[in-house]
Amino acid sequence: MSKIYDVAIVGGGPAGLSAGLYASRSKLSSIIIEKGKWGGQAATTEELENYPGSIEHPTGPKLMDRMKAQAEAFGTEFVKDEVTGFELSEDIKRIRLSNGEIQARTIIIATGAQPMLLGAPGEMELRGKGVSYCATCDADFFTELEVVVVGGGDAAVEEAIYLTRFAEKVTIVHRRDEFRAAKSIVAKAMENEKIDIIWNTVVEEIYGDGIVEGVKLKNAQTGEVTDFRTDGVFVFVGTKPIAEFAKGVVDMNEKGYILGDEEMRTSAEGVYVAGDVRVKSLRQVITAAADGAIAATTAERYIEEKFHKLKR
């Protein structure tokens, strides 16, 4: 018979890795299932100055490597696979994977979120040809070229600053007249000579013959459409939850984020949620890590109460 884990964690970003760390330190057997890259979105964020203690090594990939190594050191197991569904009918929960199945007493869903598309014509066709959602992946290509960054949150402004290390000029296009990003980040961007900002404007179309050549910009107030030549378009217009596989299993809000209480409990018994995929107001590495720790601790308590009489 295959192994039954105490905790199966879906998602290997900061929430999942922290949950793994806390679970394994509590002597629970734990496994993290990740379909893509370990570290999640944080692994592609170069500047992580808002995570306490990361000032000397502020890069996301390094911090995520250390988080993974730490969970591993205490015994968390890792598997690269994709979760396709759950069977929660009994005490032992079954997690269906593309290449098999895992059994566990509790599940922590920490799948996170992924970048939202802009939804403009040309975006899909020119993806990988100048349209990008990952500055650290693609910034290199735009050395001495000009790029547009779309968005106004932390990610947009932070990545615009990062892109100035490569590009000759970075133009932020934002649909409102002020940024939602943290004030310290905004101040940094305002001071940067390579950054221009176009307010109250949306990108209506991305065009180019096999490669990005420019965008059509529409002023949100006047409706005027102008042509703007650029070599690249970086899109940071928010994120959407990765929770399709959990539909009908746990309660979600209208946007598809999973509802969890203070202790990270979902509507399903023994199933917890942590990180960006949860309904919450601040989606950062630090809140994801906190969620993971709480979820693992709640799972531990549940296992104690429910299974303490069973032979483990």
Partner: protein
């Protein structure tokens, strides 16, 4: 797995009879690096039917741009030197999608 660069790309890909899959990756592209073990595995598994190579775009930026690659990860299938199909972006370039790309082109 064969490592491509500006000196051998022409001969190994564009002037090659048969099917070639090129993994465009970069030193700072975390999703690309996460995929690499899977690509290595696929290269071993399908190595007798398709030539699977990788190109570090960080060291070969101009070459990548000449192939109209400005985003990572990107995987392109070339048949007799002609580019046939490609997938791009971390969400699209899953190990399963890469395997499917190989299977439908061998």
């Amino acid at each position: 797995m064969l490592e491509l660069n500006k000196d051998n790309f022409e001969a190994e890909v564009l002037q090659t009879e048969g099917t070639v899959l090129v993994d465009f990756w970069g030193s700072k592209c975390e999703p690309c690096k996460a995929l690499m073990p899977d690509v290595e595995r696929l290269a071993e598994q399908y190595g007798d039917k398709i030539k699977i190579c990788k190109l570090n775009t960080t060291d070969n930026r101009r070459l990548a741009i000449s192939q109209k690659v400005l985003g990572l990860p990107t995987f392109i299938i070339y048949k007799n030197g002609e580019r046939i199909k490609e997938i791009s972006g971390a969400e699209n370039c899953t190990p399963d999608a890469i395997e499917a790309l190989i299977k439908e082109n061998i």
